[in-house]
């Protein structure tokens, strides 16, 4: 086996090494304030935020047309039905919209092309945009995407389907700080008793159900000052940054 085919890192002079550090540091550093746009409304206690959830906030990242399509997809992935609220009431797409401007920014382009491809496929196969189709037609298209038989996607339909499914689940079951799981409907759906900072032996018994707690992690005073920034996490904490 070849164990010596690597470049010699020592080929760099000290001067070059230092210059690279500074360049890299400078290139990567963006003032935190620029990345953290306004704090989301749920920087206030989540319960208060939940009361406002019915009002429609302006979109932050997605276009109105993209949101209409994404809303319709999420409503079929986790429907509102006899088992109660679903992704719509959880505001899963609000979560996605915000995350695409921050932690999930790498996925923004996939949503741009993917949602356009969903509508294009809907028009080609069902003669209407996805959001205007019947639930049965929407399910048929989602099934084609899941099984990778829908055309026009990059790299393919199943990849985009799995991406949206993953983010819809995140938006339905995450801490409401992030804009989803509004009114804790996701946690109620699966019977999650909620965030406690300490659990008793009784809270872990199989013959009991712990009382439900409905607070965001960031409603607890000790974590309130360390709320995650909206920014992409990797940009604000470079160990070799110039200070």
């Amino acid at each position: 086996m070849s164990r010596d085919d690597s470049a010699d890192a020592r080929g760099l002079s000290r001067r070059e090494l230092l210059a690279r550090t500074v360049r890299f540091g400078a290139g990567a550093i963006v003032p935190v304030e620029m990345l953290v746009r306004r704090m989301p409304d749920n920087a206030a206690p989540a319960a208060a935020a939940a009361n406002q959830a019915a009002a429609r906030e302006p979109l932050e990242t997605l276009t109105a047309a993209e949101t209409a399509t994404l809303d319709a997809i999420a409503a079929r992935l986790i429907p509102t039905d006899e088992n109660g609220p679903g992704a719509t009431e959880a505001r899963a797409t609000r979560y996605i919209d915000r995350a695409l401007g921050g932690a999930l920014a790498d996925a923004r382009e996939a949503y741009r092309t993917g949602l356009a491809a969903v509508d294009a496929w809907a028009r080609a196969s069902k003669s209407a945009p996805f959001a205007q189709l019947s639930a049965a037609d929407q399910d048929a298209i989602l099934t084609q995407m899941e099984s990778n038989t829908a055309a026009g996607f990059t790299p393919d339909a199943a990849t985009f389907f799995n991406l949206v499914r993953m983010h819809t689940i995140q938006g339905t079951f995450c801490d409401p700080y992030y804009g989803g799981n509004a009114n804790f409907v996701g946690w109620d759906l699966i019977g999650y008793p909620g965030i406690r900072l300490a659990a008793t032996p009784d809270d872990q018994r199989m013959d009991r159900r712990p009382a439900r707690v409905r607070r965001s992690a960031y409603d607890h005073a000790m974590f309130a000052k360390k709320r995650p920034a909206r920014a992409r996490l990797g940009r604000i904490d470079e160990p070799w940054r110039s200070s």
Partner: protein, 568 residues
């Protein structure tokens, strides 16, 4: 030019599980010690119970130096590169990954030190898998036992002894080697679910016991008892109950006034003089370059970075990388066989929303050589671990066991009923080193400073696959005995970047096949010590951290007692 700093007795590169332990005996002995850590201090307020941030998005790994040097992987020398991991498995901070690890703190069992000789003795030399480069350790468990004892008490480990000086106690692990005394704290409590599965194991005639954890089960050393709140794994501890080196040995070392912690210090290379002795290390901090001279360098980053720093530190004395004149750096690499698990579906709610991965029940009956391999086609075994841990996003992403689609009303109904009715066991299995599993520098991929990242060339072998299938069968039997209605086996995967990496700077008496001697110092550069699982030659069937920490204390203790010989 680099700024040359004041000379120190010892510079430790990395203040995680290993370096954070070694600092304490050195500082207590009065040596002048500096620790260079790429990360920062993190505080209890940093550890919010936030599943999305911690577990889904991988905070704080996502913001780490390590994340800019994620190793590449290929299954073998002619295979294409595997998709690059998105997040480095380990993190940079004072305390390192001990801040958010599970905290399982096992001693190796006696067999793990003598895999080759014991296999030959009991089954014959033909049972050593072809191509394996495994060797016995240069010593047995009894040599490491005093150091296990010290670190269990200095860190604070909870558990139940199964063998105190030969007296077997079935409340603990009856297969463990002799220990001098009981654990400093009783085990973490069980949950309703773990007690149910422990009862099932007893009915099978197996020997369940609570596993050891570097987590407080009562107030200890000024820290409160664990709160079992459910965000332990990758979340860090909000009340300092996890016995991370950041809240134990590192602050104790600082209290001696002989230990300085330098954070956000990115070590780039180790300097060597013309005689092949190490002079100190170069590091970057705040856009400046520093040279830290020292009598002794203790390299204590993770397996991948230990190997990388040695390979990029080339000199006239070591043209192929520091301490690599025998070509052993990067060899004998293996990663723990942590894949190939079993997930079970139960017909009732388990109420495992709280607890922590270290709150569980272990079975060692099928580990190591604790059972007869005479009619089996593999050597080694696995530790079965069932624990209490669940969070909502992961709960909703559960397998549907072929009983429901992956979305829509039928999925929703399934998840609504079953989100709290499934459990995945953690099955750790013996893994051996092989000739063609190794680490070297990637010829293409570099970090932002221009240094090549590590390239892993490794895959699981036939022994690993047979062993995994056997252990999965044992686990399925156990889950079904506990009342499961269905089980699913997850695939073994491949040997990509992992939290349980071993080898690359193996410890042994023979310098032709090992990098460090039995005390952890380089065979070639005598004032270079290496700490971490990179020195381990076998894995056992359990988490490596406590063994890493016992070895780190032992190397530091040796240095204190042999200072003149090492630094002459």
């Amino acid at each position: 030019m680099a700024i040359e700093l004041k000379r120190r007795n010892v510079v430790i590169v990395g203040l995680g599980a290993a370096g954070g332990v070694a600092a304490l005996p050195l500082a207590r002995a009065g040596l002048d010690v500096v620790g260079l850590e790429a990360g920062t201090w993190l505080a209890p307020e940093d550890f919010a119970p936030d599943e999305l941030r911690n577990n889904v998005r991988g905070w704080p790994q996502a913001v780490q130096k390590a994340n800019r040097e994620i190793p590449t992987h290929r299954r073998n020398a002619s295979a294409p590169s595997s998709p690059r991991a998105a997040i480095h498995p380990m993190m940079n901070a004072v305390g390192g990954t001990t801040l958010h690890y599970w905290g399982q703190s096992w001693r190796l069992n006696p067999w793990d030190f003598k895999v080759v000789s014991e296999t030959r003795r009991r089954y014959g030399a033909s049972r050593i898998p072809a191509g394996s480069t495994a060797e016995d350790w240069p010593f047995g468990l009894e040599e490491l036992e005093p150091y296990y004892d010290i670190v269990e008490y200095e860190l604070g480990v909870s558990g139940k002894a199964g063998n105190i000086q030969g007296r077997i106690d079935a409340r603990g692990n009856i297969f463990e080697g002799p220990r001098r005394r009981e654990y400093p704290m009783s085990p973490l409590r069980g949950s309703g679910f773990t007690e149910m599965v422990a009862d099932a194991a007893r009915k099978l005639g197996w020997h369940p016991f609570p596993g050891p954890a570097a987590i407080t089960s009562r107030a200890y050393d000024g820290r409160p008892a664990c709160a079992y709140h459910g965000f332990c794994a990758r979340g860090g501890c909000h009340i300092r109950s996890k016995s991370s080196t950041a809240v134990t040995t590192i602050p104790k070392a600082q209290q001696t006034k002989r230990f300085e912690v330098v954070t956000e210090a990115v070590v780039t290379t180790i300097e060597v003089d013309r005689n092949g002795r190490v002079r100190g290390v170069n590091y970057l901090k705040g856009g400046m370059e520093y040279f830290q001279p020292a009598d002794v360098v203790l390299l204590a980053s993770y397996v991948y970075e230990n190997v990388r720093l040695l390979l990029v530190s080339k000199s006239a004395a070591f043209p192929n990388g520091l301490s690599n004149n025998h070509g052993q750096i990067g060899r004998h690499y293996f990663s723990h066989n942590q894949g190939a698990s079993v997930t079970a579906l139960f017909p009732r709610d388990l109420n495992t929303w709280y607890g922590l991965p270290a709150q569980g029940v272990a079975i060692d009956d099928w580990a190591d050589d604790n059972f007869d391999h005479g009619k089996l086609d593999f050597i080694g075994g696995g530790n079965l671990w069932v624990y209490s841990d669940r969070r909502p996003i992961a709960a909703a992403e559960m397998s549907t066991f072929g009983r429901a689609p992956r979305w829509g009303s039928a999925w929703k109904a399934f998840v609504r009923q079953n989100a709290d009715r499934w459990n995945t066991a953690y099955l750790q299995k013996t893994t051996l080193p092989y000739e063609d599993n190794y680490l070297d520098l990637d010829p293409v991929v570099k970090d932002p400073l221009g240094f090549p990242v590590i390239r892993i060339t490794a895959d699981f072998k036939e022994n690993d696959r047979r062993l995994a299938a056997f252990i999965q069968d044992r686990m399925a039997v156990w889950f079904m005995a506990a009342g499961a209605v269905a089980v699913e086996r997850t695939p073994i995967g491949t040997m990509g970047p992992t939290t349980h990496a071993y080898g690359g700077t193996r410890m042994g008496d023979n310098p032709d096949t090992n990098v460090v001697n039995r005390w952890g110092f380089s065979h070639e550069a005598p004032n270079l010590g290496i700490l971490g699982a990179s020195v381990m030659g076998t894995s056992g069937a359990r988490n490596p951290t406590l063994t890493v920490q016992a070895l780190a204390w032992r190397t530091a203790d040796y240095l204190v007692r042999n200072w003149k010989a090492v630094t002459k």
